[in-house]
Symmetry: C2
DNA sequence: GCTTGTACTTGAAACGCATCAAAGGGGCCG
DNA sequence: CGGCCCCTTTGATGCGTTTCAAGTACAAGC
């Protein structure tokens, strides 16, 4: 049970301590047979380098930390996936911490990562980054994800306003006369989506628009009850186009409408926002605008790399991705297409899985709506 | 940009190095005013303890590592959630690494965590734990999740066979005469589910059973094509009960059947396995058996704590959770209940969200099928 | 006033490793 | 045979902490 250290390996292999260290970090400096001998000894003894000592002596870890507000949100996972792949590409490890919707924990893990001498840290902050001024002083590169920071610093954010605009334009294109937006704009992201919708609709004063609050958590159940409420109205007071600020909300609305005998999309069209794969793995696919989470994660790491390579981050930098947001094109439920198309979301689902491995696929999808 | 270290704090506060260290680790040993002075200096200077040095000197980190095969699998997230909460309860941090379905990476992160002197490490291995013998020698407590290890060691696994049995018994109770199992038993877990189904059906030789391979990845698209194939058969050759080895598969099957004009559940009932929240956030809810992922994560940490407290893990120990697996009780799509019930899965969805914070909720759900 | 005790504080040693200047060994040329 | 250079290996040094034996200051008791 006693941990075997580098000196044990050295003694056992009959070489010096520094040689073993070289075998680990600069194998090219060793004579092949020496290297082989040492490697054999290492695996025979089950030696495992102490990362802490390694970091302490060497100065860096070649690994990034990522603090996420929750793990069960598909969008965060896309970010994680993009960040992971990009990090690996540069030879870095990615460690993920779950802040569990708790600011204290978020802060805790952030400090933890900083203290671990991570090469860089990323956060998808759950609130506006008030702590930013303090954190910005830290000697570790940091990048904020999915949030628009007013403070100086690096961030990568999706253009949520554009997402709202896109959905609104879709509605207009489909000839909507009365649009109902469902959901509570509890986060900046959702607020921006609503803003985008309003902006797009400003040019069309003849289109009626209403926003219905769905309760604090924007759950499918909230969507369902709003859907039921809509269904209960006299036919001429019902919207002909419903936008869920969230896919989950939209999915709830659809269920309610169908339940109450209103056909989707024939009588009322429904669209969502999020590009939540789960929302289209249901039997009724959903039109949705997908913020490019994978891209955000990827760009985040790239920003980190940039800071690392330039040593001193001279200036702040912001990236905004997805202005031409990628809508899932399988709009079966809300489009007037035939049943055959129902299979398409599954094909897309595949495509999106590949996308998590190949940025190209994402790019292609991104173009689809341009 | 220069990192401020403990000696800087000491000098600035006019105390010795050891005193600052005490302020951090044993505040009760300091005079209140000294403590206050030091704390002020710390925040004024923006001092952040170097975790590596800390670990190296102190010996331990009070944090656990969790290696997951993928992040986008709901089940893994339940595990992570359960592990996280239990770890925090004991005052430990939880760091998550994504092996991205790659054995090399899995191994890499495992070693990384070991080398970081984590207090304990958990893995949800993607294959049978061949590496186990080597890893078992490591001086760090390790627990395997969601897998049945034949080697000595600690593991927590769901009873997948019981899950299959439960689904089969459900089918029997619904009067099934011809059961079709859809999916490829690519993993041990799925194999055990099939085994459970066969065992339960052994007592009912009059019930016809067939297993259809759905392609390597068990995607919704695979489910869809099998569903289409089933729908294409003469009516008397169709099953009256379909079991998807995975919720995603089942969801694909339902789509195909409905598409081809076969009503679910009136003509064919469909059930899944996984308890994948995504599968019931679709418009058509799904009957499913849910392996208690949250519980697995929780127990995993408990096993880790046990090893830590007993210092020397004298014997191996296995926990099997979910023999009385918790099925999602909202069986609307495959049950003969009225449309009103459609809303129920959403309520359940809420319950399950809470469950990730309160073990009690899980326990209640667990009882639902007993 | 001296001793004993209490409550804090000090600083040197060690944690396991990477680094790097210096030493060692061998081949080659003169 | 000696000198030089290059390739490989060596081992002392320091990374930022924690720990702990030793020290200091002060109060109480005699």
């Amino acid at each position: 049970m006693a941990k075997v250290k580098i000196s044990d390996v050295a003694r056992e292999a009959g070489v010096s301590l520094g040689t073993v260290s070289n075998a680990l970090n600069h194998p090219e400096k060793l004579r092949p047979e020496t290297l082989k001998l040492i490697n054999e000894t290492i695996s025979r003894l089950g030696y495992l380098p102490n990362q802490s000592a390694r970091q302490l002596a060497g100065g860096t870890t070649k690994s990034f930390g990522l603090v996420l507000p929750r793990l069960d949100h598909g969008f965060s996972l896309q970010i994680a996936s993009g960040a992971h792949n990009e990090a690996r590409k540069h030879g870095y490890d990615l460690l993920i911490a779950n802040a569990d919707n708790d600011d204290i924990l978020e802060d805790h893990y952030l400090r933890y990562f900083m203290g671990t001498q991570m090469s860089g840290v990323m956060v998808q902050p759950m609130a506006s980054p008030d702590w930013h001024p303090a954190m910005a002083k830290m000697p570790v590169p940091i990048v904020h994800l999915d949030i628009h920071c007013s403070e100086p610093g690096y961030y990568v954010a999706a253009d949520n306003e554009a997402q709202g605009r896109i959905i609104a334009e879709l509605a207009i294109a489909r000839g909507a006369r009365h649009i109902t937006v469902v959901g509570r704009a509890a986060f900046m992201q959702l607020t921006l989506r609503v803003l985008g919708i309003h902006k797009a609709l400003a040019l069309h004063p003849d289109i009626k628009i209403e926003v219905i609050d769905a309760g604090e958590w924007n759950t499918a159940a909230d969507g369902y009850s709003i859907g039921a409420q809509i269904a209960g109205r006299p036919a001429d007071e019902r919207p002909d186009f419903v936008v869920g600020l969230t896919d989950v909300l939209a999915s709830g609305v659809i269920s309610a409408l169908v339940d109450k005998g209103i056909s989707v999309p024939e009588q009322i069209r429904v669209a969502g926002c999020d590009g939540n794969p789960l929302a289209w793995s249901g039997s009724v696919p959903l039109t949705t605008v997908a913020p490019p989470g994978y891209e955000i994660g990827r760009k985040g790491v790239q920003l980190l790399m940039e800071q690392i390579e330039n040593k001193v981050p001279t200036k702040t930098k912001h990236i905004r991705v997805g202005s031409a947001a990628r809508p899932v094109t399988a709009v079966t439920a809300t489009e007037d297409i035939n049943r055959q198309e129902l299979v398409r979301p599954f094909l897309l689902e595949r495509a999106s899985t590949q996308a998590s491995n190949h940025a190209e696929a994402t790019a292609i999808n991104l173009g689809a709506y341009l």
